[in-house]
Symmetry: D2
Subunit: 351 residues, 4 copies
């Protein structure tokens, strides 16, 4: 890649926007060119309008960049969007219509039929839905690709090796989700000191529906939902980063616990095959200690780009149960979009 | 009751022992007469050997009481035991053999076939197993009654109304358990700041096995385990008191969500019928708010003696799912033993 | 008191407003008669507009009460105000002008020269400033009395016995303040998980200035600030309720540590003398354990109405240093206003 | 340096020992050669006896190393000790007597008159006390150098620029210390959920005495304590890593706040001059935001090797007050020892 591809970050002052900027620092293919926030920030210095919280200080490359407003024209080839649900749909569609390649972390576009909902290790073949998308919308080069919700991503990434090896009929999960998933200011501390909140609005529905689309099969430009049933109960716990999920699975065919562990440990996907810059060496990492994975110890494994599983054992009701943990704002958000973009660049969808 | 029944607390300096003392203050039937700890504390003033942590200061009635050692002879009629597993079995058996009525919170005796594992609202009929117990062991008045593990109690108490009304075939649960369940010093703070631990040794097995005994049927002096399958995944979260559990159930027969909620809300058991002093007016409390129950808001409902359910809704895989929360050292431990004792006094087993 | 005095709570849906309602339940002199919130809540049922968070459920007496708006006319004799700073001044002045006795927890009126800034155990004589206030403003029966900021109250209550016995020239303090002081939603959990925030806007200035007024002497209708210097550094820590403060004092005259402890332990003030309903038996409680006071163990001592001191020892720079802790929304806010009202009723200022 | 200097880590399985191993990975001058723990671990594989908790997994270089026992003979030139107080003194003295260069993080040797208590940026000249030490003890090449207590280090590092520029007569501090300072398991979670503990045994005395030695002047082989008075109050707060300290100073001569900030910001010491491998570019970092420094945001600045100051402002009692924060197990412990070793290598004390 002779010259880096120019990149805009939408929602650049928010939590996920900050992660995008942090993760894109020194990226071998992408160069952050435009930082986009609300129109009232337009023209201001990024450091002056941003309460930077993902590390001790704003990367120098971003500090003095003038912020663009959402209605300002953009020049970049790729757009990473962390806009809030509700306003994302219109902006993202407009930008893709102008020929940008939009990789969105927002929920608005996820379940739109001609938008691929992608995890590169799981359903890279869904990329070809972009052909349908372009045809449907009359676009010649723009595109929109969504990544799933943070808790869905780590569930699915952990399910994929099992899905491939044994099939999955039923998946029951309870999540213990980190507060960074709600952004800043997000969850009040009075809800998180000596407490948990057994509810995250809309989260269970997202897990239950997104899973079917991601595991769905692409036939003639349409995705048929996968024949799997998912039931999720979602809670918020006093953890900064890292969603933990208990999972119980009814498999499609018999498998021993050792075979399941082996499927996890040896799993590798398209990003590993292509050597994408942000691809973890091991997308699924298995911990053998009885009390792992734990957020503080495991969320940063593989630079936050892996799902860490542990406690793989038999389920008295279904077949197998285990715990999975993953970094919710890296692999669960910004890193997911970036890996999607890397895949589509490599696969030739972006020019 | 003309005169109060004398009571000894075993393990009186520990966390659950302290709860026993706190809950028994001003009890209308029981008077704490003896505080028992390790032999090396024998003869010392209770306040001098106790790091009191369940309220701001030790009740005056207990402060100056001389502590007895485990091998000292006891005089009390009733013994509440919060001894650690491992040493409990022998001590409790010896005391019951001497004619004491032992109510144990320890795990040692729970699965012993002729020891009732009781929750007064759930299986008060199991009290009659004491007849078998006495016959087996040649005791004329001593007895041992165990209460279940803290996380089992709140699961079962919440299941009972459903069990009675619709039957339960399968129960899947993930727990988010408070640190007080591990006593003091218990869980290190480095494990509980910005973290959760997805493992509690032996806990899942306890839930999965105790449930079958409690719901089991008593026939001819033996308990046949109930035909229900339980699968549990247990985690420790940064909460002081109050275990939260996500539950999904496959019912024995069809029920609407409204019928399930109605079963919860109208549930009442033998302790309520008998008007036992520690009985909650409502053993199962239903919260209608979307984000309840929460530990800080709900654990003290009904003085910590109830199980609080919320988020009752359909399960895409089974029939119904919900959250349940309860105070783990009150209804989940000391309060459970006390209520068992009250039941057995009222039912005439103690004289 | 034949009939209870009618009471209105301003800011009734907020955190401190909820505490007022909770603390006034069953009050022997006062009856909550009116709940006042923003005008847009006017006419609605209290339970429908309130996210109740100070206990498991709204007291029945308040649940169905229709909320009044800030501009609705009020009938009550006494008004407890927990309005936010900024809007409090005008509303409180208007209501006092209409003849109400206003007890405010807001900051607006605290440093107004003719408003007593009172802690009943500390400066009950400042009540007579009301005469000046009424003369200045042409009021015949209305009045405004303010209580200090939450962190100031516990500092001053602890200083008072020392002030009386030995004098205080310099007071240096660092506070570790609970999140409930910032209301709900208040402090974001991302600021309070694995973190402290070494800054609370305006708090240090409040401690440094309010102290001088409270310890000031009232001469001819004016308060001369006390000749003491105070320096405060304020931090926010992950604690729900209970401000802890480290204090170092240069005394006016020599005192041994035992004399200081004795001054704390034997301290009693006007509320204790008058037997006011909300007066703690011991306004200053001394803990002898090396690691006390602690928020979870000590904040509820004396029903949250006392300041708990501990670790009283020599200061290598000044004379004495110690730790003080107190409940910030009870004695530090709602309870402080209520005790002020009780004092003024008893002293004959309210009719 | 043609060949790396061989290094032994004492207390290698503990928290600080783990940090030593982590920080020494890839060190340009030092190679970890021996891992030493209790005699009962002797001969076992490091990974088999270590509950590794400072990152997601043990560095490969250490994993399979056989652990030596404390009484096994050692070969390394340099010994980093994180032994517990009490056993450290004898072991460290013995090893130095055998010719090793011992850099100790334990408290035992700190106040021993002929042991330099060093922070390389603060009192590098104290290194020459080693000549006295060797003469006193008849050693020809062994040596012992101690680093201060974790909370002392960050206090002193922040004071040094002020000390040099304006002098310091009085220093008052209150600390908010992280739990990692107490090792693992260390502080119970029941003490750290919704709580702070206003006491750390021995900590205040350490700060108050160590400061005088470090700022002391070395004359004829003896250190005269510095003429400064220090008063400390120490608390434990629910933070994993990073001690925060409020500081108020009476200076030796007048200085404006801008001059103080300038002294902080431009400070540089001997390690920076010598370009030592672990030296931070800026040993004191100044934050200009009103609410900084904060543990989660600032503890890792300069790889955890700096002290971060903020909120520099006038003190109504003394002259200047500010907050300082630093990583307690990096610059406050293992990193401090390593930097001491680097200095002494460069200054020619180790051969």
């Amino acid at each position: 890649m002779a010259e880096k591809i120019s990149v805009a970050v939408l929602g650049a002052t928010g939590s996920v926007g900050q992660r995008f900027i942090q993760l894109l620092q020194g990226h071998p293919w992408f160069a952050v060119n435009e930082l986009v926030a609300s129109d009232r920030s337009s023209g201001q210095r990024y450091a002056d309008v941003t309460d930077w919280r993902v590390s001790d200080s704003i990367p120098e490359s971003a500090r003095d960049m003038p912020v663009k407003g959402l209605s300002d024209p953009l020049e970049s080839t790729i757009v990473f969007s962390s806009l809030p649900g509700g306003i994302a749909l219109e902006v993202e569609n407009r930008l893709a219509g102008e020929g940008k390649s939009v990789f969105t972390n927002a929920s608005d576009n996820r379940m739109v039929p001609d938008v691929p909902l992608m995890i590169p290790e799981v359903n890279p073949d869904h990329a070809s839905l972009i052909n349908t998308q372009r045809k449907n919308r009359g676009w010649d080069k723009g595109l929109i690709v969504a990544n799933p919700n943070c808790s869905t991503i780590h569930l699915i990434l952990a399910l994929k090796p099992i899905w491939d090896a044994f099939g999955i009929e039923l998946a029951m999960t309870t999540t213990l989700q980190a507060v960074s998933g709600a952004g800043y200011p997000g969850v009040p501390s009075l809800d998180m000191i000596d407490n948990i909140v057994p509810y995250i609005g809309g989260e269970e529905e997202k897990i239950e529906s997104e899973t079917l689309k991601i595991f769905g099969s692409l036939n003639g430009g349409e995705i048929s939902p996968a024949p799997v049933k998912v039931s999720a109960q979602c809670t918020r716990v006093p953890v900064r980063d890292g969603h933990t999920e208990s999972v119980s699975l009814k498999l499609g065919k018999q498998a021993s616990i050792d075979e399941v562990i082996d499927a996890f440990a040896t799993f590798s996907g398209r990003p590993q095959e292509l050597g994408l810059p942000s691809a973890p060496a091991h997308p699924v990492v298995v911990r053998s200690q009885a009390d792992r994975p734990q957020p503080v110890l495991d969320r940063d494994a593989e630079n936050g780009m892996a799902s860490i599983v542990g406690r793989v054992r038999e389920c008295p009701i279904f077949d197998v149960k285990f715990m999975v943990l993953g970094h919710n704002t890296i692999r669960g958000a910004a890193g997911a979009s970036i890996l999607n973009a890397e895949l589509l660049v490599k696969e030739g969808y972006i020019s």
